[in-house]
Structures are given as C-alpha cells and as structure tokens.
C-alpha cells in the first residue's frame, strides 16, 4: 500500500479553499473543475431528456406544449454536446495529458484557466433564454432561415448564438494549449511515436477544434448580423442562401463529431491494454488511423445534407465510406488487443467493452446513412436519433465513465467501489439499449425527429414507451454512481500510486500528484514507460519497492538511447 499523502493541501495557509479553486492555474485542478462543471450540465440536459421522453411515452401532449418541447430538445442537444461531452473530455485531457507527457503543467496555465471559466459563462447564457421569454427552439443545428429574426424573434436565439461563440472561443484557446503542450513539453525520451495513445487522440482532437471551430464562429457572427443588423447572409427573401448555413455548420459539425469521439477512443485505447495486460495491438496503425480520421473529417460534412438537393451526392457518399475504413481498423485493433489477453473485468474495463459494442452499432448505422437512397428514407427520423446517441452516448459517454472510473484513483487517491460500479454499469447498459435501440425501428417506420406528438394510429406507441422506460433506467443508474463518488471521497479505499498497474507516466507519481506533478521521471523507451518497471521481463513478479526505486533515474535529453530497446 502506498504511504503517500492523499490530500495535496500541504501548503494551504489561510487562503480559503474556495478562492483557491476559483483562481487556480494548476492543470489538475482546472481539469477537475472542467469535469465537475460538465457533469452539472450533463444532469441539467439529462433532466431535459427525461422531460422529452416523458412527453413521448404516449401520443398526445401531456406535460409540455409544442414550444416548450422544441426548447427542450434544442437545449438538450446543445448542452449535451457543447457543455458536456466536449468539455468533460477536455477536462480529462487537462488532467491527464501533462501527466502522461511527464510535464509539470500545461503550456499556458493562465489561458487554461480562462478557457475553463468561459464555459460556465457560455452555458449559463445559453440556458438564460428560459428567463427571457424562452430559450432557443430551433434545434442544436439552428438551421436558417428558421433562426432568422422573422421566424425566431425571441432573444433566446441571440443568447444561444453568443453562448456558443463563447464556448467555441474557449475550446479554441484550450486547443492551442493542448497542441503547444504536446509539441513542446514532452519529457525527455518521449518521441511522438512513444506518446500514449490518449495524447495522440487529444492532439488530433485539438487540431480539429483549432481548424473547425473558427468556421462556426464566423457562421454564428453572420447569423447574429442577419438577426440584429439587417444582414442578408441566410435569408433567401433578400437574396441570401439558407443552405450556406448548413455548409458552415456541418463543416464545423462533422469534425465536431470526431472531436467528441476521438478522445473517448483514446481513453478506451488506454484501458483495454491495461486490463488485458497486453500492449495496444498495432499502435502505429492506430496513430495512423487517428490522423486519417482527422484529415478525412473535413471532407464529409455534406453527408448531413443529402436531402437538401444541394450537394454532389456521390462525392460525399464516397468520402463518408472512406472514413469508415480507419474506424474499422481501430475496431480491429481493439479486438486484437483483447485477443489472448488476460481480461480483468473491473468497472473501467466494463465501460470500455460497453464502448466497443455500442460504438460499433453507431458506426454501422452511420455507414448505412452514408448510402444516399437509404438516407432519403431515414434522414431526420428517429433512426438518426438512434445513430447519434449510439455514437455520442454509447461511444463518448461510455468512454467518459470508463475514464472516470479509471482515473478517479489518480485524481483523488481513492478507488471507486467496484460492486457499486458494476451495478452502475449494468443498469446503464441495459437502460441505454432499451432507450435507444427501439429508435432505429421508429425511424425506419417513419417517425420524424423533433416532434412532441405523434398519431396513435401510427403504430409507434409501444416502442416509444419502451424507450422512455429505458431513459428512466439510465437516470436511475446515475444514482449508484453518485453514491459511489461521494462515499469514496469520504471513506474510500486508498488507491496507491498505480492501482491498475497502468503503464503510462501518470501512474509514476503519487495519487493525487503533487502540484509540480513529478519528482523524478522514469526513462522512456516506449509508449509504456512503466511496463518494464512494474512487470519485469515478461511476468509479474513481486518486486521490492526499492528495486523499483532504483529504476527511476533522472534522464537528460542526451541519453535517450542509453538502454537497448529490446528490454522494453
């Protein structure tokens, strides 16, 4: 058992801890702020999801009127994407990337703090529409000309625009920070091809954010000008073009989808090897596939616009088919990692396996949607709602929970309770499939998305009911998770430095790490620098602590190649 301190608060003189958190520039505290903030928004948007599902459980309008319903799904989608999934993964990135790089902090700590604090501000602005006559209600995609001042006169839409622009700016600053950190602050010996795969996915993600988000900002500004200063970008009545908005939105929006999924893939690619006790199968192919996805993601945006009649279908269909190839490679690499491993089915592993099996379904339905004739049938139906939740929820959010269980010990020094974690996983997994699998069939039989009511004769009632039950199961599954977090913080099992026998650098320091992260760094000869230290030559031996200690040598840039590679 570790004898390290659990609380890093050694030096807290009389400064209040509140002020401390509000003014911190430590990447670890900022990371935790990101995560906590994101989960608060997750609960808010989840509450809206329950409202939506309650309304749809049976035909007829019961709880909401049409307008409230429209606001609910708009806020649900916007908040889930921009204030939950993206920032929560950025939060884990913030905490973990410098540690995995062996760096003392991010490149620009103060900008890091600023880009965090813009988030709650932007999120609250988006939500504040509710206080001023109604939140935005045009869907998270905000298609023109429905968002023009003619059709959406309320100030809620302006607040949505401003909030999104703020959140976008925050994530651009965060992206600059990540890229600079990764390029400039790697520990001696850590070449690009020795970076943990999570860092690679964050690097590609940050690049996508850097290049895609400014385009959305430009679009939001154009929309704001249209609404408030009589501009005519998107309004056909005065010579504009509503399809232009869709091009701009999806030029950003499709990379955004990968912004949301790539870090989750990175998380899973960290966890699967550790809990299979093998290296990631095909590290190089995996890096290559990640970069390929990043590049291709800029050439597929119009597959969201097949039914507009305004895009060249074969090209975008082909590019979309292409992007499935690197994704398929990744899937096979994950399976190869499991193959002949020794699987330890702890909660992080369960959520990672959940990720594999659910993301697969989202991927398959995605490839189906790449076929224009099929898309003509299911576009804008519940089939798409099913698809996007299998990717965002079954993919990213399962990844988020995997990351939470995996890195919680590092962040707090305590390990989440395993039985409670397993209860959480199973209710979550079953509820998720109950909620979203039936939506495939609803969409195929023609139920459009974004409707608060449907005809009792349409034959959609039973499946909608099932879906609502599933949604409530998901909500219930969060209860054991919260209990687990609170109980563990109060009185959890101490984790030690490396409870999972992880092989990346974050496990080479105390849990939680000291403010400067590392006292000493081990030598780095592969993407698993700790493997040699913890596992010896091919089998787990009980090593006396002091032997381990001996291995931790101070490395200078010059002696990277001092140790022959084949030891590792």
């Amino acid at each position: 058992m570790a004898t390290t301190t659990l609380e890093p608060r050694a030096g807290s003189y009389h400064r209040s801890w509140v002020l401390d958190w509000l003014t911190t520039v430590d990447h670890k505290k900022i990371g935790i702020l990101y995560i906590v903030n994101s989960f608060l928004f997750f609960f808010a948007a989840g509450f809206l999801a329950l409202l939506i599902r309650s309304e749809l459980a049976v035909p007829g309008m019961q709880f909401l009127d049409q307008n409230t319903y429209n606001q609910a799904f708009t806020m649900h989608g916007t908040i889930m994407i921009f204030l939950f999934v993206v920032p929560v993964l950025a939060g884990f990135g913030n905490y973990i990337v410098p540690l995995q790089l062996g760096a003392p902090d991010m490149a620009f700590p103060r900008i890091n703090a600023l880009s965090f604090w813009l988030l709650p501000l932007g999120g609250l602005l988006i939500f504040s529409g509710y206080l001023f006559g109604g939140a935005a209600a045009e869907g998270w995609t905000g298609y023109a000309p429905l968002t023009s001042d003619r059709f959406a006169p309320g100030v809620g839409t302006d607040l949505w625009i401003i909030g999104l622009a703020l959140v976008g700016t925050a994530s651009i600053m965060g992206a600059i920070n990540f890229i600079a950190t990764i390029f400039k602050m790697r520990a001696p010996g850590m070449t690009l091809m020795r970076m943990p795969i999570f860092v690679w996915t964050i690097l590609v993600t940050a690049t996508l954010i850097l290049l895609a988000t400014p385009v959305l900002t430009a679009g939001l500004i154009a929309l704001f000008i249209d609404r408030n200063y009589g501009g005519s970008f998107f309004d056909p009545a005065v010579g504009g073009n509503p399809i232009l908005w869709q091009h701009i939105f999806w030029f950003f929006g499709h990379p955004e989808v990968y912004i949301v999924i790539l870090p989750a893939m990175g998380v899973v690619s960290e966890i699967l090897p550790v809990f299979s006790r093998k290296p990631l199968f095909g590290y190089k192919a995996f890096v290559f596939a990640t970069v390929a996805i990043g590049l291709l993601s800029f050439s597929v945006w119009a597959h969201h616009m097949f039914t507009t009649g305004a895009v060249f279908l074969p090209f975008f269909s082909f590019m979309t088919a292409l992007i499935a190839i690197p994704t398929g490679i990744k899937m096979f690499n994950w399976l190869g990692t499991l193959w002949r491993g020794k699987l330890i089915l702890a909660t992080p592993m369960l959520f990672s396996l959940g990720f594999l099996s659910m993301f697969l379904i989202g991927g398959i339905s995605g490839v189906m949607l790449a076929s224009p004739p099929i898309d003509f049938h299911v576009q804008d139906t519940y089939f798409v709602v099913a698809h996007l939740h299998y990717v965002f929820f079954g993919g990213s959010v399962f990844g988020v929970f995997a990351a939470a269980y995996y890195w919680f010990p590092k962040m707090t020094g305590r390990k989440l309770n395993e039985p409670l974690g397993k209860i959480h996983f199973w209710i979550h997994f079953i509820g998720f499939n109950l909620a979203f699998f039936p939506m495939h069939q609803l969409g195929l039989s023609g139920m459009p998305r974004r409707i608060g009511d449907y005809s009792p004769d349409a034959g959609w009632t039973i499946l909608n009911m099932v879906s609502t039950v599933g949604a409530f199961m998901i909500a219930v599954s969060i209860i054991p998770f919260l209990i687990n977090v609170v109980a563990t913080l109060i009185n959890g099992e101490p984790a030690g430095d490396n409870p999972w026998e992880g092989n990346t650098l974050e496990w080479a320091t105390t849990s939680p790490p000291p403010p400067h992260n590392f006292d000493r760094l081990p030598p780095i000869h592969s993407e698993r620098p700790l493997f040699f230290l913890t596992q010896g030559h091919g089998h787990a031996v009980e090593r006396p602590e002091d032997l381990v200690e001996e291995e931790i040598v101070d490395e200078k840039p010059g002696d990277i190649e001092r140790r022959p590679k084949d030891l590792v």
């Binding site: 000309p145 059709f151 009649g309 398929g328 790449a370």
Partner: protein, 350 residues
Amino acid sequence: MQPTAPRNRLRKMLRVGIPVLLTVLLAGCLLPPDPKTEAGRDVFNLYLVVLALAAIVFIGVEGFILYAVFRYRRKPGDDVLPEQLHGNNKVEVVWTLIPTVIVLVLFVVSIMTLNEVEARSENPGVTIEVQGFQWSWNFVYEDGPTIGPRGNEPPELAVPVGEPVRLILTSDNVIHAFYVPQFLLKRDMVPVNENGTPNDIEFVVSEAGTYAGQCAEFCGTDHAGMVFTVNAMPRADYDAYIAAIEDGETPPTGGGDCETTIDISANNTRFDIDEFEVPADTAFCIAFENLEDVPHNVAILSGSEALFEGSFLNEAGSIIYEVPALPAGDYTFVCQAHIQAMAGTVTVTE
C-alpha cells in the same frame, strides 16, 4: 475440473443462443415499411443488402467481444503475463481490406439505386407543386386546382397510380421536407432566392391507397402537426377527383372517412368471404386486397345490373372502394373477371 462443466454449458448456450437471438432480432424487425412506389422497392432491396452486411459485421464483432470476455477472462490468482503481442502487419493489412471492400460494395450498390431514385421521365403523368408553409401544405396542380388544408383535416395529395408523378417542392418561408414513409423518400423544400431552382422528386405509385405523410425538417412550433395524406388511385378515379374539386364539390373522401368498411380479399380466384351486411341508404367502403397477380375487382350487382363497379387490381395490391348508398334488399357481389367462381351475397338492412 468440476466447476467448469456448467460454465461450459452456459458458454455453449450463449455461443449459439446469442447469434440466433440477434439474427432473429435483426431480421424480424429493423425494416422499413412495405414500399408503395417502384423506386421505393429498389431502395427497400438496397436496404436489405446493407442490412445483411451490417448484420454480418455486427454478429462478427459483438460475437468476438463476447467470446473474448468468456475465453480470455483472467483466472483468479493468475499472475503470469500473456504474450506481449504488439501487432502483426499481415493481419493489419487484411483487416484494412475487409472494411474497404465492404464500404466499396456499399458505395457501388448505393449509387446504382440512387440513379433509379433520381430518374426523371420526360413527360410525367402529372406535375404538382407542393408548397410548404408554417404549418401545412398546398398542392398546386398544373393547369388544375389547388388543394390545401380543409379545416382541421390535413390536406390530401391525390395522385394517379401507375404513372410518373412529378412534385416540385417549394417554400417561401423556412425549410420543410416532403416525406412519405411508405414511399421511402423524402426531400427538403428549401426556400430559394431569385437565382435558385427548387427541388423536385418523381415517383410511380404502384398501389392504390392512402398513405400518411409528414414534414420531416424541423420548421418551428407546430412542426409535429404538419401532416398530410397521399391518396393514390386509378387514373379514372383521379380524373374524377380532380374534376370534382374544380367544380367546387368536395371530392370523394378517402377510405379513412367511411363509417362502415368491409374487408374483402381475393386469392386463388376466390373471395375470402361469401356474404356481408351493410346498413341501407348510407355510403360505405370496401377495403379490397388482391393477394395474387391475377386481375380482380369487386362489383355489386342487382340481378345482372351493376350498381357499383370497383376498378380492377391487375396484380397483388389493395384499394379502398367507396360504394354509394344502396336501398335495403339483397344483392350479389362478384369479381367481374370471375363471375362464376367469385361471388357472394350482400344484405342491406334498414
């Protein structure tokens, strides 16, 4: 090795049971509605191909995950590391090729079907401008009437079966989308500026009947209420329908409005019923379904005089006949192509 025996059995059960269950699940549902247009049939067939590919990938990968979970699970106390396999170039080439082949096949068949869906005839049977507005529809017939919402009733788009119908999709407000699930087709109705051309679609309805349609692009507050029906009927009925509207009469209403509907089907040159009863002096409907590719219809005779003659279904299909009110009495109903073999009695009661 005692404790492994039941485990093995469980494993075997799962190994067989789960793929079977999933296949049933995938094949039993997850289908679009039975298509009612010719191109819709092509899309449906394409969908079947794609679904089959999807099912193979799904079962393969999920199966492997399950297999791995059971087969490679670490035994308690097993501290020996597995072989530290870093990769294998040959395998990686193979599994780059697998998805490549799958998506290329998918791409090629998709484009072939796309050409069918996007085909345009030189002279469509009818051309109708569909105007979307917040939150209903106007159907503007070329050289003909305009049909809009009728009170609280959703508007009805009347089209002839068996010939190409061209729809010009316009909007002068927000974007809507024309969607009829049973046609497996939708297209956005984009407001364009002076320089733009509106979208159009074309289809051949293969079967008479009424089909629900709905706006599929979110268009504001009452988007959910923006519904319509398509009423597809034989050319003669269609002409009468349009003529009635031009004369300012209410057109013959669709089957949905009948107080009494009699279901009759035909198969093996037989009706499934040989008698039915309806109230006197009230119009009623016959929902007729032809189950074989042999021409049948339903006619109502008084002696040898036909009081009602339904149009023929020349192949399998269904139609709703609207039968005018009959005085009380006994009549016969027949298929006029098979008067001997297909006949029954109609009792009209006070």
